[in-house]
């Protein structure tokens, strides 16, 4: 009998039930889309921000100390400590190896351009370096992908261009150097002739520098197999209180907190793990970048959360109006049921069952529509698909149930207040 009445109510109120289902579907679709985007936006925003450079700087311990004390950390000429080039591949063996997107080493040296008195900073680096990792995997990394905003006239160097150089725009301008010219670099007794393959404009003090393949710089500086620093671009989780405490002193954490911290991609956790695999290295987050990432991410997620909440509140109000209108329309029927002896609870269950069935239909339709919306957002904002998170399904189900029940409260109150004498006899 109960289900006959539910079925009858659906058939009789098709239009209204469709409207309720549509309202629920709208709320569910926005919730599903926003939750999927919100859970995936961290990676997406991180990937976007990775195009603006590294967020971790790895230095030898001595250079790091000088940097902390005096604000200088330039390696050669300041500190005689170096990192071993052969250990750099180890960074791709840490727990968060997959979050290390790119890295490139730098070997700094002071050189003289022939016929010039003043020194110029020479930087040896990887441009697009193929690396075979200890894990058996391989990786292509280097400057070209980490400095994507550089404006290069001419060409980027390749790692095998050991007799070529890229010259900063300010150095080139001062010395009237053009692409294709040959420059002679002097470092102590050593000299090397290099062909200028590209002139770059970085918009920073890098424009005062000359970049060469790492082996060339190692040869000129007589530092074979050594590097001054490494810049790392890593996908990180925004810092929270735990990460901030760990960054100050990992030993201050309890064992459980340490496990949580170590197994979360906080920038401090990744730095710690890098230090574990590179001898005498100090990995430091480039704070402005790391904090900007965190701030942007938090604000983006907050915005999505607000949109989700507002859409659900809107749905609840819509449901409330529609269900109340439905109960008012059925007031005579409800009054009759009370007149023939139905208590409030069975009638409430009857109405709630109808609404919840409608909510399930609306919720399912809304969830799949939400997946579509998420992909549209992913492609239009981030240029890539949004990963579908299964955990969104129970979240949306709970939210739809709560919103539906909350939206039904006014109608249930109305239903409980209906008196058969009033609705059947007008008194």
């Amino acid at each position: 009998m109960f289900w006959r009445m539910v079925k009858g109510a659906f058939l009789r109120q098709k239009g209204k039930m469709l409207m309720i289902a549509f309202t629920i579907a709208l709320g569910a679709s926005l919730a599903a889309a926003m939750l999927n985007v919100m859970l995936d936006v961290g990676d997406k925003v991180n990937q976007e921000l990775k195009t603006y450079g590294a967020n971790i700087n790895v230095l030898p311990k001595g250079a790091s100390l000088l940097d902390d004390l005096y604000g200088v950390g330039e390696g050669s000429g300041v500190s005689d400590q170096y990192l071993k080039e052969s250990e750099l591949g180890n960074m791709k063996t840490i727990f968060w190896a997959h979050n290390i997107v790119d890295f490139t080493p730098y070997l700094n040296a002071k050189v003289k351009l022939a016929a010039q008195d003043s020194e110029v900073k020479l930087v040896g680096t990887w441009f697009s370096h193929h690396l075979d990792l200890p894990t058996g995997e391989s990786l292509d990394t280097g400057m070209e992908s980490m400095k994507s905003w550089w404006d290069v006239s001419g060409q980027w160097l390749a790692d095998q261009d050991e007799n070529s150089a890229m010259v900063g725009s300010l150095v080139a301008g001062r010395n009237n150097i053009q692409v294709g010219d040959t420059i002679t670099l002097e470092s102590g007794e050593r000299t090397k002739k290099l062909t200028v393959k590209g002139i770059f404009n970085a918009g920073s003090d890098e424009d005062e520098q000359i970049y060469v393949p790492l082996p060339t710089a190692q040869e000129l500086a007589d530092r074979a197999g050594l590097v001054s620093s490494v810049e790392v671009s890593a996908l990180t989780t925004p810092d929270n209180e735990l990460a901030r405490r760990a960054a100050q002193n990992p030993n201050s954490l309890s064992i459980k907190e340490q496990e949580t911290w170590y197994c979360t991609a906080y920038v401090s956790s990744i730095c710690y793990q890098i230090e574990e695999v590179i001898t005498d290295a100090v990995a430091k987050p480039i704070r402005q970048v790391a904090e900007s990432e965190g701030a942007i991410l938090e604000k983006t997620q907050l915005l999505m959360l607000l949109i989700t909440i507002l859409s659900l509140v809107g749905s609840a109000l819509g449901i409330s109006n529609l269900v109340t209108a439905s109960v008012m329309e059925r007031s005579r029927e409800i009054g009759l049921l009370k007149a023939v002896g139905a208590r409030n609870s069975p009638i409430t269950w009857l109405v709630l069952t109808e609404i919840l069935i409608t909510a399930v239909v609306g919720g399912v339709v809304g969830y799949f529509a939400g997946l579509g919306f998420a992909q549209i957002i992913g492609h239009s904002v981030f240029g890539s698909a949004i990963d579908i998170k299964p955990m969104v399904i129970p979240l949306v189900a709970v939210l739809v149930a709560l919103v539906t029940l909350a939206g039904s409260i006014p109608s249930i109150r109305l239903l409980l207040s209906l008196r058969p004498a009033e609705v059947l006899h007008g008194r």
């Binding site: 009998m1 109960f2 006959r4 009445m5 009858g8 109510a9 058939l11 009789r12 005579r332 029927e333 009054g335 009759l336 049921l337 009370k338 007149a339 023939v340 002896g341 139905a342 208590r343 409030n344 069975p346 008196r419 058969p420 004498a421 059947l424 006899h425 008194r427």
Partner: protein
């Protein structure tokens, strides 16, 4: 033996005195008619007798129990177990068949029994119309479904509000014949009506005017 006693009943809505100092008894097996012009308090009296409203003053004794102070929940139970309601507007659920409309009363009373519901419809001459929706039935047939629904739980008191008010002469006759049969079978019936011909079928007629009993007429039939 009295099934129903109204003792000094009054009902006041704000400044309006709908009923004033009503004293009335209904014997078991009696057929009583309540008559009066519009605004005389007929519907208010029916609501109080039918446990759909409570008096402002006085006591309602139904089957030996004072129900005038009972809670709304308790009155629902009394209505379900002891009273069968018949309405002028029929009040059938439009998306349920005649049979299902009768079974609704069973469902909220105890348990739906299709066979018994069908027998109730046969009793009012609608066995062949059991699977029809209210919109497929005439006014008289709808009223008979309403009567079958009122009878299905074997109530002590059948309370009918203008049961023939919306019917033509032929259907009025059919409904009155059912009432006569019910009375003959021992049912207690209270009919609120403005139709003297319907009232004459009852054993007694209570005439209300301005919320008071103006007179009680013993009918000769």
């Amino acid at each position: 033996m009295n099934l129903l006693e109204l003792q000094d009943i009054s009902k006041i809505y704000g400044n309006v005195k709908a009923l004033q100092n009503i004293d009335l008894t209904v014997r078991q097996g009696e057929w009583l008619a309540i008559m009066g012009p519009s605004g005389s308090g007929k519907t208010t009296m029916m609501n109080i007798i039918g446990c759909m409203d409570k008096p402002s003053n006085g006591a309602v004794i139904l089957d030996g129990t004072n129900i005038s102070k009972e809670s709304a929940k308790s009155l629902t139970g009394i209505r379900r177990d002891k009273i069968g309601l018949i309405f002028q507007q029929f009040h059938l659920i439009s998306y349920l068949t005649a049979l299902e409309n009768v079974m609704v009363a069973q469902y909220y009373h105890s348990m739906p029994d299709e066979k018994e519901a069908l027998q109730a419809l046969e009793r009012v001459g609608l066995g062949d119309r059991a699977r029809h929706l209210p919109s497929q039935l005439s006014g008289g047939e709808q009223q008979r479904v309403c009567i079958a629904r009122a009878l299905i739980n074997y109530p002590m008191l059948i309370l009918a509000d203008e049961p023939t008010g919306n019917l033509d002469e032929a259907n009025e006759g059919i409904v009155l014949d059912i009432f006569k049969q019910l009375h003959k079978d021992g049912s207690t019936i209270v009919v609120v009506t403005h139709d003297p011909e319907v009232a004459e079928e009852a054993q007694r007629t209570v005439v209300l005017e301005h919320g008071r009993i103006a007179r009680i007429v013993e009918n000769e039939k």
